[in-house]
Amino acid sequence: MTESLRGRTAIVGVAESDLGEVAPGTTPADLMGQAAVRALDDAGIELSEVDGLFAAGTQMMMGSLSLGEYLGINARYSDGSNTGGSSFEAHLHHAEAAIAAGLCDVALIAYGSTQRSLLKSGGVIPQEAPNPYEEPYSPMMPISAYALAASRHMHQYGTTREHLARVAVAAREWAVMNPVAWSRKPMSLEEALAAPMISDPLSVKDCCLLTDGGGAVVVTSAERAKDTKKSPVFVLGSGEAQSHLHISSMPDFTTTPAVQSGERAFEAAGLGIADIDVVELYDAFTINTLLFLEDLGFCGKGEAGAFVTDVGIGPGGGLPVNTNGGGLSYAHPGMYGLLLLVEAVRQIRGESGDRQVADCDVALVNGNGGFLSSQCTTILGSEATL
């Protein structure tokens, strides 16, 4: 029997960096540094107290070193695990363990990306080396991987393009209420359905934004969290799972490892679906939201199309999902996972303004990495949930 980590650590500071399109010449490390200082200020913790560094990125090989160099921190614990966009939920899991084991006291998890600016200036975002069993067929990655999964889900369960479009519309409805969201113009179902196709059955409105941005999260022990600026948000449970890297090795295109990561997180938290007040899912593509709602247990396999139609995931719907507007309408700076944690913490603190979910004590976050490859689930709760 492993030692329970439930409630042993808390997130005490969160921040976004500049988002959208950042000033020319800004580096990913600038954004990490900016977000880190903002998050530490949010926590009321001095930079000098940070002794654990966690970072990953698409524009840096050695993220935790970059972060330490920028901030002048000689960390006694560092972790550059890269599971793609889910890295930051994985980092939080690892930080829980490291803090509980006394290997560090104040963990800083940070991310920064200037991918939008980079592409605009003719640059190229570094990718995983091409897979020789995929690359000759010219899939448009990562979109085509998710399109293939969507095609299978449609075939197997009767999911439609309208179901996908409903996910995009719900995300937009939330984004309209988020002052820092990139896409805030209201969008109808008809508009979403009329968008040009990129990799069938996914249209441009089924795909996430391509923005700059970053963020930071400060994590510490429940003990140290007693003396911080705001109410701590406790880490109740984490779960990681992975089943492949490249889409061609995904065992079942309609079922992701979120089945296992979710089970592990719920078990660690001692909670169930009915306890969740707000859900933040990594919506790089509309099909993600459907797959994760099913795999995490919010509805049965194949039923997410009906769920988003009948129950609803937008403002006023039965289950608030992606309340910041998500990767689809708020921000998607290459790896989006850290910003899921930021929104979940703000919802539990009651800081989400017009889009605040009432009586929000428990949030579920699901990070996705690769091509539905890595799933990391985190369940966070207010002090009342301990």
Binding site: N131, P132, Y133, E134, P136, Y137, S138, P139, M140, S144, A147, L148, A149, S151, R152, M154, H155, P196, M197, I198, S199, D200, P201, L202, I247, S248, S249, F253
Partner: protein, 131 residues
């Protein structure tokens, strides 16, 4: 689990040698009888190294499909194909409009010069077609 010896010919090289002969090579683990694709040195899960090469009959079923529409370029098909021998691979279904390809359609192997320097690689066409 058996021990892996020195790699004399890489799995990729063997695969390409089959392809150069117009064949789709794949591996089967002798112990478990399970097919393995992409080609590798050990069987996933068991770690066994008793992999032997076989030649696929080249008949399969479309498992998933997408029409890729690159800006300023003609659309093309990318499909996942389940071969009847029990393994799955990414490929393309050719000889028909890319968005006419449907999940569940039966397909057969054709070789196309898709590799570097025009090397022939496995692709597929609809079985019903040209009959």
């Amino acid at each position: 689990m058996t021990t892996a010896g020195r790699i004399e010919e890489s799995p990729r090289a063997t695969f390409l040698a089959y392809a150069a002969r117009g064949q789709l090579g794949y591996q089967v683990a002798k112990g478990s009888g399970r097919p393995v694709f992409f080609p590798r040195v050990t069987e996933p899960v068991t770690g066994d190294t008793d992999l032997e090469w076989r030649v696929s009959m080249g008949i399969g079923t479309v498992y998933a499909t997408t029409t890729v529409r690159p800006r300023g370029d003609e659309p093309h098909n990318v499909s996942m194909v389940d071969l009847d021998e029990g393994f799955r691979m990414m490929s393309t279904v050719t000889g028909t409009a890319p968005d006419d390809v449907r999940v569940g359609q039966r397909v057969r192997l054709v070789m196309l010069p898709l590799g570097p320097d025009g090397a022939e690689l496995p692709a597929f066409e609809l079985l019903e077609e040209k009959s």
